[in-house]
């Protein structure tokens, strides 16, 4: 299998936090120490759900230097493809699971004079690990965290309690909003801004920072897309010499894996570029959903990111 190396873990705690979010703690099955990581890293959790193997990325939220366990928080998505429901409904303390080595696509830029974090909802999780990391070195950071309500504000209380001067919480249901433009204008030179949350929030922060003349290198965001369902389609894989069917509820990457094709991946969310695949021939339309390829590449019909993108039409031949 492709992707990062695997670790066999045991679930040692399952902690519901609120109506939507549950935290899971993993320790190595053989009791050994887990690798350290850097704040912002994710792990891909393998779920054996009936006949299907689900592989979902989750940000690690624990202290990156704590090698005794990893923790993740999973938000239940009732309309999603089933990974989060599996975690919530099936996974119990004592279960053994396989997770990947941590991979970081959202790391801190340690040249920053100050780290400004902007989180929306479950997007808080990578920042929890980054805050641990910065606290070890007395790093300069500030968090602005927007959540739906007090009842759904995962970790809002803990953060306000341990870092009262650095944490700012905004509740949607109390009409509290981040005063973004003002916030960005007041930042000292050398500040880096990081945003993790819904797509609308990421776009808002990116465009506001650009409008405030922030250098692109100082703007960081993490946006994993979940693959979207779509019409089934057929793909011919030139190297493995197979023709496979991609079902309505699976991604092209998942369909290739189901057929035993060893396709590369890291994020499974259209962000890392690892799964980039050359198109040999096609007749039809691509439904590109990644934010790895640029518009020209999307228009060229020469490349596809199988973790999130789909195809509609007669023929698609890939270099796999």
């Amino acid at each position: 299998m492709s992707g990062a190396e695997k670790i066999q873990v045991k679930v040692t705690e399952v902690t519901p936090l609120n109506a939507l979010v549950t935290r899971f703690r993993f320790e190595a099955v053989d009791g050994s120490l887990l690798p350290t990581f850097s704040g912002g890293a994710h792990t891909v959790v393998e779920m054996q759900d009936g006949g299907i193997t689900r592989l979902n990325p989750y940000s690690l939220m624990s202290d990156p230097y704590d090698q005794s366990a990893y923790t993740i928080s999973v938000r239940r998505d009732d309309a999603g493809r089933g990974g989060s429901l599996f975690m919530h409904n099936q996974v119990k303390t004592g279960d053994e699971m396989v997770i990947s080595y941590p991979v970081n696509l959202f790391s801190l830029d340690l040249r920053a004079r100050k780290h400004l974090f902007i989180a929306g909802g479950i997007g808080i999780t990578p920042f929890l690990a980054q805050i641990h990391q910065l606290e070890h070195f007395n790093g300069h950071w500030e968090l602005h965290y927007s959540c739906r309500s007090e009842a759904l504000g995962s970790y809002a209380d803990e953060l306000s309690h341990s870092h009262p001067n650095k944490t700012h919480i905004y509740y949607d249901d109390q009409d509290q909003r981040i005063g973004l433009q003002h916030l960005l204008e007041g930042q000292p030179l050398g500040t880096h801004v990081y945003v993790c949350g819904p797509k609308g929030m990421i776009d808002w922060v990116k465009s506001t920072a650009e409008a405030e003349s922030w250098p692109a290198d100082n703007i960081h965001y993490e946006e994993f897309l979940a693959p979207q369902p779509g019409k089934p389609f057929q793909v011919k894989l030139a190297i493995s010499n197979k023709t496979i069917e991609v079902g309505e509820h699976e991604s092209l990457l998942e369909a290739m894996e189901r057929e035993g094709v060893d396709a590369p991946y890291l994020c499974r969310g259209g962000a890392c570029g690892q799964c980039e695949t050359r198109v040999i021939d096609y007749q039809g339309n691509f439904i590109h959903r990644d934010h790895w390829l640029d518009d020209n590449e999307h228009a060229s019909g020469e490349k596809i990111m199988p973790c999130v993108s789909r195809f509609e039409g007669k023929t698609l031949v890939l270099d796999h």
């Binding site: 040249r111 920053a112 004079r113 960005l184 204008e185 007041g186 930042q187 000292p188 030179l189 050398g190 500040t191 405030e212 003349s213 922030w214 250098p215 692109a216 290198d217 100082n218």
Partner: protein, 198 residues
């Protein structure tokens, strides 16, 4: 003619480009000698309203031209070292959205670049434009001494006195090119100095 086309070189050699007015909340412009021309080229009243110009004349006064631009602040200093406390204060008090423009000699741009980067401004966000002398700021790799404004190759280190060959290897950290002993093999055999780009 104060613009010079540097010949193609190795990767470590910095590449200077052209200034353009950018949108920003404040503008810091640092130039020496003919570097002032690069500022004059892009100046507009809107840009100047939020610009802080720091110019080191090195015998080429542009005072009248620069003050005619009516910048928010204009400082002329005898040397880069003399201007440094002021540059540092602008950076300490500065906010995100500040745009940086460097123009003039390689020695000035390199040193100012280093200062900007240590204030956390990414290299990619700093604009530069070469004007004027092609003299180099050199470091002797033997005694580590820095000699400014070197125009000939080889040159004599002002610290240890060795005769050094002017290389294109450049250290961003020191903002200096490397000088390596020219007569290491054959002591005393020192070629006639000529211009670096001759």
């Amino acid at each position: 003619m104060s613009k010079f086309d540097f010949p193609p070189s190795i990767r470590s050699r910095p590449i200077w480009s052209s200034l353009e007015a950018r949108k920003g909340t404040a503008h810091l412009m640092i130039a020496d000698a003919e570097g002032a021309e690069a500022i004059l080229d892009i100046a507009t009243p809107e840009l100047m309203a939020n610009s802080h110009i720091i110019h080191i004349p090195k015998g080429k006064s542009y005072s009248e031209h620069l003050s005619a631009l009516n910048p928010a602040q204009l400082y002329e200093g005898p040397s880069y070292e003399a201007a440094l406390p002021r540059i540092r204060r602008v950076l300490t008090d500065g906010h995100m959205g500040l745009q940086v423009y460097l123009a003039g000699t390689e020695g000035l741009m390199g040193q100012a670049m280093q200062e900007m980067m240590s204030a956390g401004i990414p290299h990619s966000a700093i604009q530069t434009e070469h004007h004027g002398s092609t003299a180099r700021r050199m470091q002797c790799v033997h005694c580590k001494g820095i000699t400014e404004d070197i125009e000939t190759d080889p040159y004599q280190c002002s610290h240890c006195g060795l005769h050094l060959f002017v290389r294109d290897h450049y250290s961003r950290r020191l903002a200096a090119y490397q000088g390596v002993r020219v007569d290491a093999e054959d002591h005393g055999n020192i070629p006639e100095p000529k211009g670096i780009y001759e």
